[in-house]
Amino acid sequence: MKLTGAQIFVECLKEQKVEVLFGIPGGVLLPIFDVLYDAPIKFILARHEQGAAHMADGYARVTGEVGVCIATSGPGATNLTTGLATAHMDSIPMVAFTGQVATSLIGNDAFQEADTTGITRSITKHNYLVKDVKNLAKIIREAFYIARSGRPGPVLIDLPADVQKAVTEFSSSGKKVEIRSYKPNCSGHLQQIKKAVELISKSKQPVIYAGGGVVLSGGSKQLRELAEITQIPVTTTLMGMGSFPSNSELFLGMLGMHGTHYANFAMQRSDLIIAVGSRFDDRITAKIDAFAPQARIIHIDIDPTSISKNVKVDIPIVGDVKNVLKKLNEIVLQEKDKFRKNRLEKWHGQIKKWKEVNPLKYKKDDKLRPQFIMEKIHEATKGKAIIVTEVGQNQMWAQQFYKYDYPRHFLTSGGLGTMGYGFPAAIGAKIACPEKLVFDIAGDGSFQMNIQELATAAQNKIAVIVVVLNNNCLGMVRQWQELFYKKRYSATLFSGNPDFVKVAEAYNLEGLRITKKEEVEPALKKAIAMKKTVVLDFHIEKEENVFPMVPAGVPLDEIISGLA
């Protein structure tokens, strides 16, 4: 049948089972929006394209499906870029569409023209400029395939105005996409896996270091099996939170700059690190020359470029984490006698001691403390909520003092550290999982970076609970200035913050101010009972800090505890 480019766009989205599209229209996208008007796809009208991109990202993170967003040419496309870069750094499957000026005008500095494929080349997994409507369906199918396969990531398709209007033959396709130049290796080399098992069986002080790849591959169950049969303790990265149950004896919490003492000690003293879907980022290794000096390293990752990039690896295993762990566990089970339960007794004893001496802690006085708020949120939600964060201290407190037991329940901009990510991502998550409680744990700075999305929440009746940990400053930067720049608070203190309760009310949403410890529980109860977005404005101390902390440039076990 003959269809226009705009119609093909919608047909292909249906083919990919896209239920929700996030975005903002514009001149060059009019043909597409006209078709969308009566298409069976829910359109969420954002208030800023960055918001739309983060919504698609949040939707993707909780579902594991491809999140889809759309923006107009020029400023619409440039506004999307932060969202694309955020998704790219965290390997989130997304397809973004942008309008483009007509093909005949490209390169002429036409109205609202930007070189979108040029601008986004390094912040997408791949991108396309569609120059002929005949290629449109193929490109959209490829884009979805590329976004979700291998190491996932965002793919952008730039759609000129005339291509949307041009007509061509279209037939729906159930065929698998084949790209000769793109064949991700998912299975993992058996010989390498056998070598890994051998090394694991001989180790005396092993640690599993699990990252976002475990969540992305759906390998949490396999990770737990591996840890349980081998009795190896597990630490996760920020992106890996929830891939391993926090209530397990084997769990060490997060490692790295704001990781626990015991996770960092265990890494530094280990004789074997089993890296699973993680990438030895600089927030993890701290001073790289001093990182885990005695450890041999097994590295399981789908992306060969992640392996031996920052640290040299002894046994690389390229493959999908879930597939590789399945095989690895099979072999471990076959050789069970090499993995006697008590063989790591001494190591477990050591770790237990570290845990006792240096637990995560905070000052328990009658002040309203963010750590206490997080604990109360955990209590009120029984650990079942989806917690989305902004960036800064809020992000670290959210990570440290809420316990994560399930994958896809902790959403945060780990790689790029994008302030303003949390609130729109929480909206996307709530749309994907309406039956779940969704919290955005925010700083007053970050929340104001995409606060306009309150209108999106109001218009679409989306109930997200925004927890503003309001310290009236850019807390994390202020903390560094306090510790390393003699408290010279250069451009980090706010005056002029709005009344967040009134802001919420102005959007016809709810707002509550909490200034005392005893108000926390009732406020949370109230917020949870309300079926619309609530902004909880928690007034906390300006000079509250995140500890433990490993400052930049020192070894991972040179930790500032903070509390006297």
């Binding site: 494929t117 040029g118 080349r121 390094s122 997994k125 791949h126 991108n127 400029l129 590329i146 790209i179 000769r180 130049s181 793109y182 064949k183 992306d303 060969p304 470029t305 031996s308 990039k309």
Partner: protein, 166 residues
């Protein structure tokens, strides 16, 4: 270490920018880069000559492989192969110097492809060493313009840089 890297890519716009971007983003200087269609018109072949730290180069090779439009990447460092570079040199020539230049051209088995009252254009194919020797010999006559294609390379015998096993 100098590496000659041969990359087979989809013959599409944007591919060159992606590859150049990989090198430039890491501050890698490319000695030479040449691109052209292959026996299959949907595939282009790039020959990239770079110098750099082995570990970084290994990372770049992996990154090249990761690009969606890249079909195959081979490093010719330990592969028996031939390399050629084509150069065109416009050199000043008058009645008193012309015959001396012609002699040099002869010795190098180069070719004259253009003659004017004041200049000659000399074409030669060869490896880096030979081309540099020719340039050196011609410098005293004053080189007006010089253009090189950059190295292209091919493995010897039946070792084919084909598209299987990315």
């Amino acid at each position: 270490m100098r590496h000659t890297i041969v990359v087979l890519v989809e013959n599409k716009s944007g591919v060159l920018a992606r590859i150049a971007g990989l090198f430039s983003a890491r501050g890698f200087n490319i000695d030479s880069l040449s691109v052209g269609e292959t026996e299959d018109s949907t595939i282009s072949r790039m020959t990239i000559v770079v110098r750099g730290d082995e570990q970084i180069l290994e990372q770049v090779m992996k990154q090249l492989n990761k690009l969606i439009d890249v079909i195959k990447v081979s490093d010719f460092l330990n592969v028996s192969h031939v390399e050629r570079d084509l150069v065109m040199i416009k050199v000043k020539a008058n009645s008193s110097t012309r015959s001396e230049i012609l002699q040099i051209v002869d010795i190098f088995r180069a070719k004259i492809i253009d003659v004017s009252a004041k200049t000659l254009i000399i074409e030669m194919t060869g490896n880096k060493g030979k081309i540099e020797a020719l340039i050196k010999m011609l410098q005293p006559f004053e080189i007006e313009e010089l253009a090189r294609t950059g190295i292209i390379a091919m493995s010897r015998g039946m070792n084919k840089t084909k598209i299987e096993n990315k």
